[in-house]
């Protein structure tokens, strides 16, 4: 079965005054048709840049290489005109901050209709009717009235639902969701995740969910890709990775979340810490990027960044000392 979206060896380099920065360094993953892939990492790990590269929306200061295939067809490096036809129709995106992603000067109905008129060639009236249907799909009450409202008249959760409605307006094959619930309260987050679950069931949309919240990944994703400092350090099915993470970073990340339900601590009621902080992404180091914070690091880790290797069926980790357990 071909992957719906296949990213291979993606590298994104930014040239800054202080030298070049490798924001994504050999990122590969594949999204199954109808699947939900969680892309997890902390700020600065390159997860958003990866999404932008997939969409061809990198700023001019960035250069990228690598392959992005949509249903087997290469879309990396397509001319802007052809990319515009894919963006919004085949692949669309929702962003973290719904207020800054919506235009405050137009009604939400107009903004949803714009997508439909552009890509589907609907007339103004048809598009407006369809916009109301889409608002209904994302469970906005009184959609007929809401289409005529401006973004500032809606709550944060409502705006994020408008963003989702806009993103799925053309029934895209792939939805890239960049921290879609981070700015929302937990009860509203639960509503939005539920809507995304629905979309996948009803429309068969494949979803890449970018997040730092491991709970959200556990809730909705089938597969998970863990990123650290521009590299994929671990990937696999969520059940496998959460039950038996192999990379020390994944192990640390899972151990640092308070889990009073498991009584997980070091016996003195403390959380497990990952020492140090996320590194800056200057020149590619000749060593494993996680080595400075890793409890297992030794001379071998200083030699090179280890490649992703299969540790168990379907589970990959980039580590020379893999294994162990999250709760070791």
């Amino acid at each position: 079965m071909t992957a719906r979206l296949e990213v291979t060896g993606l590298r994104v380099r930014f040239d800054t005054d202080e030298g070049s920065v490798l924001a994504a360094n050999g990122v590969s993953f594949s999204l199954r048709p109808g699947g939900v892939l969680g892309l997890v990492g902390e700020s600065g790990c390159g997860k958003s840049v990866t999404a932008m590269a997939v969409l061809g929306l990198l700023p001019p200061t960035a250069t990228s290489e690598g392959s992005v295939r949509l249903d087997g067809e290469e879309i990396a490096g397509l001319p802007p005109r052809r990319m515009r036809r894919i963006r919004g129709r085949e692949i669309s995106m929702i962003f973290q901050e719904p207020m800054t992603s919506l235009n405050p000067a137009f009604t939400v109905g107009y903004q949803i209709a714009e997508v439909l008129r552009r890509h589907e060639g609907l007339t103004r009236d048809q598009a407006r009717v369809r916009a109301a249907e889409l608002l209904d799909l994302v469970r906005i009450p009184e959609p007929g009235k809401r289409v005529g409202e401006f973004p500032h008249q809606l709550s944060g959760g409502m705006r994020q639902r408008v963003m989702i409605a806009m993103a799925v307006a053309c029934n895209p094959k792939v939805l890239l969701a960049d921290e879609p619930t981070t700015a929302l309260d937990v009860t509203i987050q639960a509503q939005v995740l539920d809507i995304m679950r629905d979309l996948r069931a009803q429309l068969g949309t494949s979803i890449v969910l970018i997040t730092h919240d491991l709970g959200v990944v556990a809730d909705i994703a089938d597969d998970v890709v863990v990123m650290y400092a521009g590299h994929v350090v671990e990937s696999g099915a969520v059940d496998t990775v959460f039950a038996g993470p192999r990379h020390p970073y994944t192990i640390g990340l899972l151990g640092s979340v308070p889990r009073p339900d498991l009584g997980l601590d070091d016996g003195r009621g403390r959380l497990r810490e990952i020492p140090g902080f996320v590194p800056t992404l200057r020149e590619p180091p000749g060593a494993c990027v996680f080595a400075p914070r890793c409890p297992r690091a030794d001379a071998l880790c200083q030699e090179r960044m280890p490649p992703l290797e299969e540790q168990a069926p379907g589970q990959y980790a980039a580590c020379v000392h893999p294994g162990g357990h999250a709760h070791e």
Binding site: V216, A218, V238, P258, R259
Partner: protein, 332 residues
Amino acid sequence: MSEPVLQISGLKKYFPVPRSRGGGRVHAVDGVDLTVAPGEIVGLVGESGSGKSTLAKCVVRLLEPTAGTIRLHGTDVTHRSQRRLRRLRRQVHMVFQDPYSSLDPRTQIGDIVSEPVRMHGLAHGRRARELVAGMLERVGLSADMIRRYPHELSGGQRQRVGLARSLVLEPSLLVADEPVSALDVSVQASILNLVLDLQRDMGFSCLFVAHDLSTVEFLCNRVAVMYLGRIVEEGTREQLFGGPRHPYTQALLSAAPLPDPPRQRERRRVLLPGDIPSPIDPPSGCRFHTRCPVAELPLCRDEVPGLTDHTADGHRASCHLIRTDGTAPAVT
């Protein structure tokens, strides 16, 4: 029982809304009673707009309460002048959410931490420097940080500076307003551990404001849940997380996803409809009735439920549907 460090009763804080924007008042905090005993960490949980940060700011008198009283060690400080408050400021300190905007970018770390010491005239010169160096060490920062500026520090290091500044006077109460929510996940753990270690060493009480339930469950002895300006449930960690009674608490607990895929799939989820109503014109009766999956009309719409200790063990909840023996309504 020993005298509480902090005793809040009937606290209200309203903000006026300009007439150009419809007028009226935002009922940010609307009648809250809460006490913090010596050495206790009390978690204050709620979603945005619940009034939890406003309450915290009233406690340190960054905001002037509209009504009610705040007592620190038995002394009424609700309307004390800022000048007469100064002596009490030694007892109460606050840590803020954003470690970037809460440190003066033009001040060296050493001066940031020593400012309270100087303000209160507790130590000067070498003695003050020793105090600061000792405090920095306690929060896990090396002494060479003294000459650094905030922009040279990572988010986690800045929050350590914030803690050092708040604790250098050894206050009896620390008010922490979401101190880890702006930090990366892997850094949050170290700050939470630090708060716990410092509390065990120094024995201060803490009012810990958070929206993240797992953090509160990890850190706090007692927890109060706020919704639209009021406390809807309060109890020990075990009472509240083990047997939540209020439908809102039940929904909140079920909405926070567990990082455990098989268990998360099995969990019973309570999906609340709609958004938090506006605190300008809060719903009548029980404020939660507009979103409550089990609300019974007209009772819940018309009558305000009291915060009742059904089982006489300090587990209080305000819901008409909790039975007299404390049995919570089944929310699905």
